[in-house]
Point group: C2
Chain length 342, copies 2
């Protein structure tokens, strides 16, 4: 009895004392697939490809155009602009810390960063390459790339669409923002977060936000790659927000699976650097983080939050803005007599 | 008499011996205007602005979109693509070594890099900002920029359109590609250029190309800033090329001055890194450097050049590809609750 009581009390004390330690610090490195090991040369090649607009049909759009690593990893638009001024149908998710997600795209239709990288290059409204072969041919027409692919991947014919994706994914696995104020606080530096942010951290737990937004990326538990962590949005339909922000027009993962159980299911997005990635949600319909918090509380938890709650929660979310590693600009391999045409 | 003869002979010998030394090595630093001194903080601010798509109306186009410093300083297109997929009417000139030009734009309508920087931001088919004030307001809405402008320029209201241009121009004055094979050869390293390139160097002199393409940037003599070095193109009209490459549709500097003497006058463009900046001429109508050499010989010198001449001259032009300095990527200042809209 005494023993049990002690344990119970200890556990309760622990729960109180460690309330601020219940979240995970972001690791400095992600899991790396066995069939795509990282190397300095592969990272550099991937960085070149990530920044190279020649991967788009008319030479105007690079991966970085919509996933701007010099900023929060997005383009701060509702819908991204691709070749010929065309717009996509969903808001670009951040590339920062995407290496920690177990599924990619808003609807989880790609399991890995490698699979994800293959999508936008061929999407007509994004980079607009007519085929995998067209992308491969473009890269093969640049001698410096051929040389780098040989050095990195070996073999007789290393410039393949798979290897293009592997190099890009490898670079993306370096895009990690450790040492956010939250992470420093979580490691013991109590001065790293404001009192309001600490309050916000407690509130996201007590409100229930963290039943989904947990794990190192605040995007759900550490699932095997390919097994996405999805939630229905809105979980509580019928609020004023559904119409105001067109929350139900896009059916989410259902578009991929055509399984009615997947209607309005979405991969839970990261909270890391969320203060830099307005506008919010899959359709970028909500312009401020304050309003995004209100919408989430109502549609996912059926709760109203006070202005004070919103202020504290937004302060906490701001504490998840990490330290962006210093990067050198890639030099894009020379392309003699190149003309990009429409 | 003896004295005079000696001098004459010496001069002749000098001319022969120094035939390969008649061109200028690229200096490591350009002239800096007295009213815009350089500093590390101003360079960094200018780099941020240069790479920041938020200087365009919809957040999609940065200076770097068309003047890609990770490549040869252009977009390798005939006409650049601006906001909403719109196209400009002339091919983007390289930003590399533009600091050594005495006038900017193809038609010299801007005297300085500062003046030049103000153009594309407001051009409807480029970055599309509706007014200087709109650009200033955008930058003022980003707290990190306000802080940097205060640190760099001082004063109560340092975020001005003039200062935006000053910062960008300051960054551009660092975009210099010293140590090309030609420059190394010119400083005495005879192994730096191939035999063909050395032949090409002699041929551009003997053909007369260098009567215009001279000076440190192979873009004309060292004139006072604002005094552009212009030539008529085509100087010898009537060749097949006029029609084939639409050489006379655009009247060049005449569009600026409305002086009939300026019809088809163009600022002589640099040869440095020209191998990286296809397609060629103000309208990007010529796709290869080989053909550009043929067109120039015919239209400017009324000469036919052999395939061997073209090969050597192109080898020489390739020897003008410089060493691109390693640069860190700028971090764009945070922009909380930012949405870029159309």
């Amino acid at each position: 009895m005494i023993s049990l009581k002690t344990i119970t009390i200890s556990a309760a004390l622990l729960a109180v004392n460690s309330a601020s330690f219940a979240f995970d610090t972001l690791p400095a490195t992600p899991k790396v697939p066995a069939d795509n090991p990282m190397s300095a040369a592969k990272i550099e090649l991937g960085k070149q490809l990530f920044f190279d607009p020649r991967l788009s049909v008319d030479g105007t759009i690079s991966c970085n155009s919509c996933h701007n690593v010099m900023a929060g990893g997005t383009d701060n638009r509702d819908f991204s602009v691709g070749v010929k001024g065309q717009k996509g149908g969903r808001s670009a998710p951040t590339v920062w810390n995407a290496a920690f997600l177990s599924a990619q795209f808003w609807d989880g239709r790609a399991a890995t960063l490698e699979d994800q990288a293959k999508g936008p290059i061929l999407a007509g409204v994004e980079m607009g390459m007519p085929s995998e072969q067209a992308a491969v041919d473009r890269i093969k027409s640049i001698p410096g790339y051929v040389q780098s692919f040989k050095a990195v991947f070996g073999g007789n014919d290393p410039v393949t669409y798979d290897n293009i994706a592997k190099a890009i994914a490898t670079y993306e696995r370096t895009l990690i923002t450790i040492n956010s104020p939250f992470d420093r606080y979580n490691r013991g530096d109590k001065s790293a977060m404001s009192a309001s942010a600490v309050m916000g951290m407690k509130k996201v737990k007590s409100l229930g936000c963290t039943s989904c937004h947990n794990g190192v990326n605040f995007a759900g538990p550490d699932l095997p790659i390919g097994q996405g962590f999805y939630q229905k949005f809105p979980t509580f339909p019928g609020s004023e927000y559904d119409k105001k922000y067109k929350l139900t027009e896009d059916t989410g993962r259902y578009e991929v699976t055509k399984d009615s159980a997947d209607k309005h299911m979405w991969r839970v997005p990261t909270w890391r650097n969320v203060a830099l990635t307005a506008p919010y949600f899959h359709n970028g319909s909500v312009k401020t983080l304050d309003e995004a918090v209100r919408v989430m509380a109502k549609t996912q938890l059926n709760k109203e939050v006070s202005d004070a709650d919103v202020k504290d929660i937004v302060a906490f979310l701001n504490s998840l803005t990490g330290t962006f590693p210093t990067q050198t600009m890639p030099r894009l391999p020379d392309f003699a007599d190149a003309t990009m045409t429409d």
